[in-house]
Amino acid sequence: MFKSHVLPEYLATIDTDKCIRCKRCIHNCGWGVYSWSGERVLIDTQKCVKCLRCYHYCPVEAIEIEDSKTRYKDNSSWTYKNIRNIKKQAETGGMPLSGMGCDLPLPILFDNMLLDACQVTNPSIDPLREPMELRTYLGKKPDKLEVERTKDGKLKLKEGFKMTPQIKLDAPFMFSPMSFGSISLNAQKVLAMAAKECGIVMNTGEGSLHEDLLPYTDHVMVQVASGRFGVNPDYLNAGVACEIKIGQGAKPGIGGHLPGEKIPLQVAKTRMIPVGSDALSPAPQHDIYSIEDLRQLIYALKEATEYKKPISVKIATVHNVAAIASGIVRAGADIVYLDGFRGGTGAAPNVIRDHMGIPIEHAIAAVDERLRQEGIRNEASVVAAGGIRSAGDAAKAIALGADAVAIGTAALMTMGCTVCGKCYTGNCSWGITTQRPELTARLDPEIFGERLANLIRSWKHELMEVLGALGVNSIESLRGSRERIRGIGLDTETLDMLGIKAAGT
């Protein structure tokens, strides 16, 4: 047989002196790297993706996974990745795919921004012992409120005044849409449990709502995408909001394509498609060719939910994002969800993932600015996603103008994900992006739900510390305060675009 010229990426080794032949690595590896010879563990290193599951589960630390030392000759233009892709393409004729967000060393603007803090002239706040409000509400805010006084002199909304529907978030975080199919049901349960625990919201993605998530629907946003999987009136009314998915940051302009390997019976049932077929949700929703058509679907959803649920529209951040967002708001959306180009994915062709869209930092600044200029910023909330790695990124995103941030990859990391990027194979050894029952069974929703809740708790504390240092006591006071951000190492044009000043000025 023809031997592949694609160099293995990693070198898996087992220290045979340490190895006690427990075979756990064989059992744990979803990619079939290890097998049993009868006496010892055999290694097929070509298959290794460096997810490190085996490393963590080896009881004697006998396993080492290194980047393969054999590389092509150094060349800054013809990098290892470039050469490897060409060989792969030559051997298969297929498009190289990736899971997870773009990993190219492109500038990450969050890392070129620093936040302000109080010194001498304004007091900072002790976030642990003084009131500090992280709660926020997503949805259209009315132009004016009508209030009246109760008998005991308190203010309340005037009788008959109808508040627009809102999503309540105890902290400005959400979990980004990840469908049952692209991730396992257990992974969705982890998200749902943590969302409930933390008073925030998870998003079903486009794969419908599995009945096991019904106890969590007060913390679930449901999604409608081009494939319309599992969309019926119960579904639309089940959660706290409905989202129309137009695009995804990792693959703007192209649709979803869940490979048949990830469509076992359960997934086929919730999606109402044949078992083992590829689930197609192409980019265009063929009922939306314009802002007017988007309006038609937004209002179809509003009619179907009797105007009780906010409607979110999720787009990938592309060049003209500000104008598009303005159109979306004018079309009646209550939330605009911006997914930056570093956003994650279960599967995207590299050529799309690595070359299209714009970073979320630019998009937040542009959209917030545009909506303010047009006097419609109150008409919709802005959610930012796609590359939020820490509470620091979240604080900067909110200071740039976002109402809340959504995280996907960071949430998966709490379940074991090591960002190996091979989600599209359906073999995730951590039981996250797979439907193989022996793999998904390893992800205990209770245990990992708690870990994910811990991450959110920790980020909440961090965010409070940031607010305290800035001398403000609510997340609403940070929103859009770009005067509290300074840029370092950014050119004037970028600073102007972001609406921030250079450090030292």
Partner: protein, 247 residues
């Protein structure tokens, strides 16, 4: 019998009135002077019969789950968008993107239909959405179809060269469900994923059942319609894109 005069009414008000009437227990409602109002039938979970006089607007019966709608004239685009159950009967022609992601229920159109009809139609076990069109269809009929039944009859007469029953890319991206077409199909105009097959016994039974229902709605004769031979389109591979990616 309950009448609502829709003249000059905004869709929001009209649909509120319809929903309120249904909640009050009305099970036969007639909407008069309808003129382009969107979303009729949306958000109703009961099973009333609603007769529509005039031309209803887009997204008729979107997400609908139960009612029977009878439109006495032509209708527009996006009918039965993601419809779950119930029935829509159109006595005239209808527009584009009908039955998008439809999951159940029936859509019967006496006349012609436009582009991308039956796109993303689903189906699972007993839930078999069905669209029957008495006339011809535009391009991309049954695109990305994953389940359900699409039937094209061409009752006014068709000709494979000059007046084909369906446009280009018939069944493109189809990976489930069945399309039945009365008369000849041009094999150069079908999607790459489908094949033209003869009907087997089960297909005949299914077709007959669907047509009996259709004919009852429009007072047509099943036997007459079934005199002409039908062809079936079905996906010939369930992994048409298996080789698209390098893993």
């Amino acid at each position: 019998m309950y009448n609502i005069d829709a003249k000059g009414m905004h869709f929001k008000e009209l649909n509120e009135q319809v929903r309120a009437a249904v909640k009050d227990g009305e099970d036969e409602i007639t909407l008069q002077n309808v003129n382009g109002q969107y979303y009729i039938g949306v958000g109703i979970r009961e099973k009333p019969t609603i007769t529509i006089e005039g031309v209803p607007g887009n997204d008729l019966a979107a997400f609908m789950d139960g009612p029977t709608l009878r439109v006495k004239s032509n209708a527009q685009d996006n009918i039965a968008n993601t419809m779950n159950s119930g029935k829509v009967i159109i006595e005239g022609h209808a527009g584009d993107v009908l039955g998008y992601g439809m999951r159940g229920g029936k859509l019967h159109i006496k006349g012609n239909v436009g582009y991308r009809v039956g796109i993303h139609m689903k189906g699972y076990k007993k839930q078999i959405p069905t669209i029957v069109a008495g006339g011809t269809a535009g391009d991309f009929f049954g695109e990305y179809m994953a389940g359900g039944v699409l039937i094209l009859l061409g009752l006014e007469g068709t000709d494979v060269k000059t007046n084909p029953i369906a446009g280009d890319y018939l069944g493109t991206g189809m990976h489930g469900g069945k399309i039945f077409v009365r008369g000849e199909i041009d094999p150069t105009r079908i999607g790459a994923e489908v094949g033209i097959l003869d009907l087997d016994e089960n297909d005949h039974k299914l077709l007959k059942k669907c047509l009996e229902d259709f004919c009852a709605d429009f007072d047509l004769s099943v036997d007459d319609i079934m005199k002409e031979p039908f062809k079936k389109l079905e996906p010939i591979t369930d992994r048409p894109y298996g080789n698209l990616y390098a893993y």
